[in-house]
Symmetry: D2
């Protein structure tokens, strides 16, 4: 399946903001797709992102899920607005192990003030892609508050 | 207020498990209190844990909240058990900024299979301590599955 | 779209349990579909289920969502087990108004102890069907504890 | 402990709104305390609010928790505003049984647009009061939209 891309301007705004997130670089995460209302973030496996049994830490899993949802919302915002997470909830469905995990943030409902996103995280091992976390997130649009 | 400490054996089990969490060391987090059913984790401010506006990233905030709750539950488990996060929900109440943040995980209800924790994260700036995140977490006790 | 039905035995177990839920009858809710891992519940509009502005009350919306998810899980349980809700989270996406609302509970992951469901509630007005609530739920299977 | 009451005007606004909630009357729920940022709602035990094992239905438990939190937020709103639930999450900690249950909604953080509440539900049997549900809720203040 070919996924639709956001406009070059929107992609550029998302990338510029993502690069200002110190945590994403520190974890080793990168943007893998920027569509309208939909953003993917990939995190490769490394000892620096594990919990005590060697799986991806729930905190790492949900950090990329939170950013994926936040930027999914952000793609639909006006140019001079920024985004903040109000809250999110995530279920860890299975131990997250594999070569990398990929978070998918998808806008469920977009309003002037609040946006609701669905969050999914998949673990990829070879050709196997399995759902390891699922959640839901509420974001707020701060108008007239450019992101940078 | 003097907080009660867990027994030396329990403290040792928590510390040993915490040290196996690659993510906690990578973020720069450390255990600041281990009591029965209550664990604190501190994360100092540094560019590696920020979001795009320079505040602590919601992912970093909730990573230490998740570990604090997980270990709070773990302090009440039998010796040969390990802990997994089933799910959690967190509200980001205010932008998290300061010298460091401290997550407090507190057991609300402890059952044979499931434990429910309350999660709080405070931002500390000089002598000011303000609540920046609050949440709730469900954990599962895996019996006869030692943590190491 | 034709939806798959559960076996007659499973449908019978779900219906018998649903009829023991005093709240569902009191609200005026009824089962509209019982499939393997998927259950729908309909609630007609009436003054007895409203909030202060005349919309469906969030409590009514989430009551049928909770039961739909619970029975979706239950369809996959062994015969002598019963189901309890551990927790759920629901976003109210839009004011719920219409002739009736329909909750859809769908199993996302089914384990021996825990089951995770996706919850959706739609408002139906004439030929329009709009998503008014979305959530996620954790349920526990109590083995050797028949439901009745 | 004596609990502080809201002003007579605020109490009157809450009572008038509560009386317009068809669901609360239909369940048999009543307001038991209206303080600034804190509201209690009581629901007596009756077959009409049960789940299949005879306990209070999670939907009834969370319906009064949702209203308690909503009105707790509402006590702090300007006179011409109304309240909507954005989302909530609730853990069912123990089977809810007893003569009645009481929901306590308490504002954790009050902002111009969003308010976050802590939700607790207790079951009361004779002189025993036990926590049966705990949750967290996000509400939105609709300015210049009187509640009636």
């Amino acid at each position: 399946m070919e996924e639709e891309n956001a406009t070059p301007e929107v992609q550029e705004r998302v990338r510029a903001s993502f690069e200002r997130q110190g945590l994403m670089a520190h974890l080793g995460a990168r943007l893998s797709h920027i569509g309208p209302g939909r953003v993917h973030i990939v995190l490769p496996s490394r000892p620096e992102v594990t919990q005590q049994h060697g799986y991806f830490h729930a905190g790492a899993t949900s950090a990329i899920a939170d950013s994926a949802g936040g930027y999914a919302a952000f793609t639909l915002f006006p140019e001079d607005a920024s985004v903040l997470t109000v809250e999110y909830k995530v279920n860890l469905l299975a131990p997250a192990q594999g070569e990398h995990i990929e978070a998918v943030g998808q806008v469920l409902r977009s309003g002037r003030t609040l946006t609701i996103c669905q969050l999914e995280v998949f673990a990829i091992q070879g050709t196997t892609r399995s759902l390891v976390a699922a959640g839901q997130q509420t974001l707020i649009c701060l108008h007239d508050r450019p992101d940078h």
